[in-house]
Symmetry: C2
Subunit: 297 residues, 2 copies
Amino acid sequence: MSVAFADRLIEGVRRTGSPLCVGLDPFPERMPTLFGDAANDPAAVLKFSAALIEIAAKHAAVIKPQLGLFEQFGERGYAVARLACEQARDAGMLVILDAKRGDIGTTAEGYARATLGARPGFDADCVTVNAYMGLDTLAPFLALAERDAKAVAVLVRTSNPGARDIQDLDVGGAPVWRRLAEMLSPMGERLKGASGWSGLMAVAGATYPEEARALREAMPDALFLVPGYGAQGASASDAVAGFVTTRYGREGGVVNSSRAVSYPAGAETAKTMAEWRALITDALIAAKNELKAACAP
Amino acid sequence: MSVAFADRLIEGVRRTGSPLCVGLDPFPERMPTLFGDAANDPAAVLKFSAALIEIAAKHAAVIKPQLGLFEQFGERGYAVARLACEQARDAGMLVILDAKRGDIGTTAEGYARATLGARPGFDADCVTVNAYMGLDTLAPFLALAERDAKAVAVLVRTSNPGARDIQDLDVGGAPVWRRLAEMLSPMGERLKGASGWSGLMAVAGATYPEEARALREAMPDALFLVPGYGAQGASASDAVAGFVTTRYGREGGVVNSSRAVSYPAGAETAKTMAEWRALITDALIAAKNELKAACAP
């Protein structure tokens, strides 16, 4: 695992031909009964995750489990999330654990171990973090990431309507998120790979493409994790607005799709695993190809 | 559970005579071997938590488990945290789960259920949250809190040195944290109790007493959760700087102490439970009385 996360991510994107990141979001009420009674039995969530990962690994390099949706099942859901991370890694995928943690000192160390650390941690390749409490709160995550060739994705400009409340407050002519980006950029040096990209990633909502371009100016080397594509309303070209043109096409991060690829129309009422697999495969291929086209050289 | 959290907290503070909140922070390397091998066995953490809660319930109305320090033990640590919340409630304490969660839409709903919701959730009385992503991200927490007479503590001005990086950025003459406080204040109406205090709490670091006073101006009704007292260097009078004078003395929140009360000098090498209990009791009484004196009418 001595190859930098940034290089592994870029290699995976080139290999699959697409920056698609598959969101693993367990919604019990949308999960086909094929997998069991998800509302009451986290084992059904594990079956669903395993089945989704098996197909996703053929079409995408990266998976993003949404930890909050596992935690709603309590400690068993937390355990299922860890097992899902293990399965995804075994299937050759990079795991971005969407945990949005953020705390100070020894607690931040605890969260860093819990997410990036080996068992009993999730052993994720990357974890999402919230920097509101300050740059010192990132240190334990960055230290573990540097040691193990992993990554940290900092929430900079998110994709929800309320993102403007704090992130867009004007600080002497630039929004808060831009000031954060400027502080983060030099910190990314230590997670930089041979590709020139850094594993100090920025979460950059696809619903605001003009912000993504401005964020790229502030963080030229950071890989972007782009949420908001698909179900949240952003187009493929909006989603890659913060990518840059290289000889391989537009590159610079991954674009997440959750609901559109894991709960496509008809999947909820699928009668057989074969039917469900076919729907998921079609949805994944559609998202992969749409993003591939948006990034074509 | 129809009495508002704010009223239950104020009642507890008056009953114990002190705004002390006991931080439940499992540091395996500091835990006496009396409880077992904490570094490798989360059962030792459960024993430690149970023993601490038993004593803490006699001297403080509120306990604050630090979830990140439980999560470092993986899913078993997560389960131990839930059991500790249950024990603390059974002992009559109010539980502020220090989880610092923050996410959008359905994921925020997941975190709200996981923390404030009944089993398999933690069923905490209050949860700490991070509002960087926007006010919409607070909605699911506030909805559950309102329904169940619980509370939400928003990170406003934290106690760490890096707090200045984002929180202190100047937005047209006032820092980001003050703008956040102004937006939060009217939202607290729905969690207001008969006491006049609101369960939309603000985390207000004790290491910055002048900020605490300014925060009180911006959020006159919000109960404060004050970290940073004791081991982090703030004095008792600094810690209650944001409280207001009432006929019961200075009131307006709780002041957390973690290390000073759960790992006092000598406790780590205690040879017997009786010796450990005596040290913990002394430390709790000292913190309780110091805060009591700082709040005396």
